[in-house]
């Protein structure tokens, strides 16, 4: 086909179209990428996540210019060089730390939105699975990043989490040593987690975000009623100027304008946290340098890992590991465990409605108990009940959804 107009001015629209099909790209990816009108601000969470990832990437690049991945120098390179010698180094660090924490809050909101509206079914399975892969990658990214300041919590959380790979009574100590590159966390450990954090995991995440966006293109996003649209017909209405009758809007500029508004509100909140309330994102214990001879009184992961940590903790070593493994993969299987044909908001799906809200409350209880000292018998008991509830919920899911009646809803 190649036909290139020799008279086209370089970089003019025509010239670009012949080489990069910019108009087609723009149409397919933005001006004629159709989004249902019937959505709320929760559908902006995806863009909030993308923006937060951008913030993490940029602030991370600035930190990388001064960070030194050496067990003897890492702590001071972060806490002294970056925090007090580099101009605005403190700002980049607080931005990075707060973003790393907040991104998980938004991920959880985004996931629960998907569960609530049934956005993982009927053509949207791959969106869900690529989303869960993003969750796993973000977890690895956050954990590896947490090692870098080489504080007390970096060291001891690194010790505890890598120990899990001995797989309990199987005593795969060789595997643990292979992961650490040493018997205990040390230079080899820090070096490889540094590599993971600044290179491999970000590459994987970027690839997965592209995949996630790709999986959205064919099924389109869901809407508040789980209604199935004929997107072509609705799009024609819009193009014919029937803005009111059409059930869809173009991503750009109509949906985008709302996204940007939500982003504005989000960033006000985000920078409020960065400037006035960053402590929640930076554990005080990590401001003590790593000391292999002094175990901290309480070892706990960052808040976003607490719920799964609490599924590990109340059981004996091997059983705990099994349920921990269960908790890590089970969300991935959601599209196949939910046997109901309904794509509808949870409040219209009878037993599922209870299932959803119990899950939310249970995960919050697990999160809170995960941080409290397990030596207290009441907390230990609540944690254990919550862990059993979590497991029970997922085992029950196929059965309660199988019996679900078809909901009429809007069609």
């Amino acid at each position: 086909m190649a036909h290139f107009d020799p008279n086209a001015r370089p970089f003019s629209n025509k010239w670009m179209n012949e080489r990069l099909a910019v108009d087609t790209l723009k149409r397919v990816l933005s001006t004629e990428y159709w989004i249902p009108k019937n959505i709320n601000f929760l559908w902006a969470m995806g863009m909030v996540l993308a923006a937060t990832f951008g913030v993490l990437l940029i602030s991370g690049i600035f930190l990388l210019m001064y960070y030194i991945p050496d067990t003897k120098l890492a702590f001071d390179s972060v806490n002294y060089t970056i925090m007090s010698e580099v101009g605005y180094g403190w700002l980049w660090r607080h931005v990075h730390g707060v973003a790393a924490s907040v991104v998980f809050l938004i991920i959880y909101i985004h996931m629960l939105t998907g569960i609530y509206y049934g956005s993982y079914k009927k053509g949207r399975e791959l969106i869900w699975i690529s989303g869960m892969l993003l969750f796993v990658s973000f977890s690895a990214e956050a954990f590896s990043g947490y090692m870098l300041p080489w504080g007390q919590m970096s060291y001891w959380a690194g010790m505890v989490i890598t120990n899990l790979f001995s797989l309990g009574s199987l005593e795969f100590n060789g595997l643990v040593e292979w992961i650490r590159g040493d018997y205990v966390p040390g230079q080899a450990f820090l070096g490889r987690f540094f590599m993971l954090h600044v290179l491999l995991m970000p590459l994987i995440i970027i690839g997965l975000i592209v995949l996630h966006f790709g999986t959205l293109r064919m099924p389109h996003v869901n809407n508040k009623d789980g209604e199935e649209y004929d997107f072509d017909a609705e799009a024609e209405k819009w193009k014919a100027g029937k803005r009111k009758e059409s059930k869809v809007i173009p991503f750009n500029p109509v949906f985008l304008s709302k996204d940007v508004f939500v982003l504005g509100i989000y960033f006000i909140l985000f920078f409020y946290l960065v400037f006035y309330h960053f402590e929640f994102a930076m554990d005080p214990v990590n401001f003590d340098p790593a000391d292999p001879l002094k175990t901290p009184t309480h070892i706990y992961p960052e808040w976003y890992f607490l719920w799964s940590y609490e599924i590990l903790r109340p059981f004996s070593k091997d059983i705990g590991l099994i349920w921990f493994g269960f908790a890590q993969v089970i969300f991935m299987l959601l599209p196949f465990l939910d046997r109901s044909p309904n794509v509808a908001p949870a409040n219209r799906r009878r037993p599922f409605r209870c299932w959803f809200w119990i899950l939310v409350v249970d995960m919050i209880v697990l999160t809170i108990m995960g941080k409290l000292p397990p030596t207290d018998p009441t907390f230990a008991l609540i944690g254990k009940v919550a862990a059993y509830t979590f497991i029970g919920l997922w085992i029950a899911l196929p059965f309660i959804t199988m019996k679900e009646k078809l909901v009429g809803g809007k069609k």
Partner: protein, 302 residues
């Protein structure tokens, strides 16, 4: 509006989670110690009135170990020799009257280990025979103390003989001196000698205290203000059995120490306060413009 209800649900669940993993969890993990406002309620006021002039004549009891630079009295031994003798360098007494509590000092001079809640091996022996002697000496120390003591001086006097603060270039034997390497070899012998001295002092100190007291550069972020305040008031309440003595500073003296620890451990605080409103203001305007754009795009859609 429906959308605001959804937002309210999200916010409520978020806040409950936050409350659970931050304020509530911390209240359960750390035992709560009430601040006593540096009143030292366990020490009874002696009731005797000190006389500075009489104190001046009794100060010889201290000069065997302590210097009083401001009065032209040099310390009998330098930091290195002192640490060899006592395990720690006795502080210069010139400014003691400005930041230490009077009631505490009077009790301390008569029975240092007891007043400081320290181990029996505490290096300073009882050095005032009676409450009157102690009160006189304290009155003298107060009379020679400068009106103003900087935050840095307060820290160095109250904590500096035991704790380094490397981000402020402070070591237990003083500020790291500026030295120059030999141009031809790149070797800096003065620096190496200083480092060796610090290491020797620290070894002695660790032997005396049972462990090396931690560097306090960013202790303000590692422990927070409430812990620090109650810990300095009486280390035994937070770490029973610890070797760190109660130092006995006044409330104002402590506030200076804390201000210094904040200056070195959290130096960005003033900058945060200066930059924050601008960034948030920017996003405020951004949001208003975005809202107007949104409203114009969504007009006539429903």
């Amino acid at each position: 509006m429906k959308e605001l209800k959804v937002l309210a649900v999200v916010v409520i669940f978020t806040l409950i989670t936050y409350w659970g993993v931050e304020p509530y969890a911390h209240s359960q993990m750390h035992k709560h110690v009430e601040s006593q406002d540096f009143k030292y309620p366990d020490i009874n006021a002696s009731g005797v009135k000190g006389d500075a002039a009489a104190g001046k004549n009794k100060i010889a009891a201290c000069a065997g170990c302590h210097g009083i630079e401001s009065q032209g009295m040099k310390a009998p031994m330098d930091a290195m020799a002192s640490s060899a003798a006592y395990g720690v360098n006795p502080p210069d007494l010139s400014k003691v009257g400005a930041i230490f509590d009077e009631k505490f000092l009077i009790a301390f001079l008569q029975n240092p280990a007891h007043a400081a809640h320290a181990k029996p091996n505490f290096a300073m022996p009882p050095s005032a025979g009676s409450a009157q002697d102690a009160a006189d000496i304290v009155a003298y120390l107060k009379s020679i103390a400068p009106k103003e003591v900087s935050n840095k001086e307060a820290f160095e006097l109250a904590c500096g003989r035991c704790h380094a603060a490397r981000y402020a270039k402070w070591t237990q034997i003083g500020t790291v001196p500026k030295t120059k390497p030999n141009i031809k070899t790149g070797k800096d012998l003065d620096k190496l000698k200083f480092e060796q001295n610090v290491a020797e002092y620290q070894n002695k100190l660790a032997a005396y205290m049972g462990k090396l007291p931690p560097d306090l550069s960013i202790i303000i972020r590692a422990r927070g203000k409430h812990f620090l305040e109650t810990f300095v008031e009486d280390p035994q309440t937070q770490l029973p059995g610890t070797a760190m003595p109660r130092v006995g500073v006044t409330k104002e003296g402590y506030e200076k120490v804390e201000a210094y620890l904040e200056e070195i451990g959290d130096p960005s605080k003033p900058k945060r306060e200066a930059v924050g409103p601008w960034v948030i203001g920017f996003f405020f305007i951004f949001t208003i413009l975005a809202y107007l754009w949104y409203k114009s795009q969504w007009k006539g859609l429903k």
